[in-house]
């Protein structure tokens, strides 16, 4: 069985940045991870009651999108610009 460690960069914005007390974090994920797997891991132990949006490499991603080595993953609340 082949296993590798994949470094990714995780970003948080707005209320999630405040909730986690950081805007950025380096993570290593193993094997096949979806963006939702990453979210479950980083949010474990936090009470996140609001809707969370995902992006991979600055494009919106679905919960089941796969994350690969070197990706920039971001988590943020619904957008409120304009």
């Amino acid at each position: 069985m082949y296993e590798e460690t994949m470094p990714i960069k995780v970003l948080y914005f707005a209320s999630l940045k405040e909730l986690f007390g950081r805007s950025e974090q380096q993570l290593s994920i193993d094997g096949l991870s979806t963006v939702e797997d990453v979210w479950r891991r980083v949010s474990e132990g936090y009470d996140v009651s609001q809707q969370v949006l995902y992006s991979i490499n600055q494009e919106y991603a679905q919960a089941d999108s796969l994350v690969k080595s070197g990706d920039e993953v971001a988590f943020f609340p619904p957008v409120t610009g304009g």
């Binding site: 914005f13 707005a14 992006s55 943020f76 957008v79 409120t80 610009g81 304009g82």
Partner: protein
């Protein structure tokens, strides 16, 4: 052109300058534009100020994508999108979307399309600083969700 700026901007000055510099004299018959401005009230509360956060990189890319989609759907000559970030005060312009075309239908529809997509998908977040006269626990609150414009 897409501009994200930390500084207060004057929409009429932006429009005037861009229109001169785009060098389309005689070509455009229509310009439709929209300016969103910070109000001093929201959801019944007096607002003192606002912080506008964005996702540098993704925000610009997303706006570029919206504009390209609009250009595929309508016959447009030029587009200008300016969005403010950072600390804002009431009456500060937040966003400007402008579209130039030969005929008015394209300009009207594309400007609204770009604006609605921006409001619902472009990664910006507003945090309001409520007035001290509000009898509430939280003095700062993230705006939860934009309302639909349709």
């Amino acid at each position: 052109m897409i501009k994200i700026t930390n500084n207060a901007f004057d929409p009429w000055q932006e429009l005037s300058t861009f229109q001169l510099e785009m060098r389309r004299d005689g070509e455009y018959g229509a310009c439709a534009n929209f300016i969103g401005t910070m109000r001093d009230m929201n959801e019944g509360d007096a607002v003192n100020g606002m912080f506008l956060e964005h996702y540098p990189g993704m925000t610009e890319k997303h706006l570029e994508k919206i504009v390209q989609r609009a250009k595929g759907q309508w016959d447009l000559l030029e587009t200008l999108v300016v969005h403010r970030v950072g600390e804002l005060l009431p009456n500060d312009p937040i966003v400007l979307v402008a579209v130039w075309s030969a005929h008015r239908k394209d300009a009207f529809e594309a400007s609204r399309f770009i604006m609605e997509d921006l409001k619902s998908k472009a990664p910006f977040w507003k945090k309001e600083n409520l007035s001290s006269t509000n009898q509430r626990a939280e003095k700062n609150r993230w705006v939860k969700k934009n309302t639909s414009g349709y």
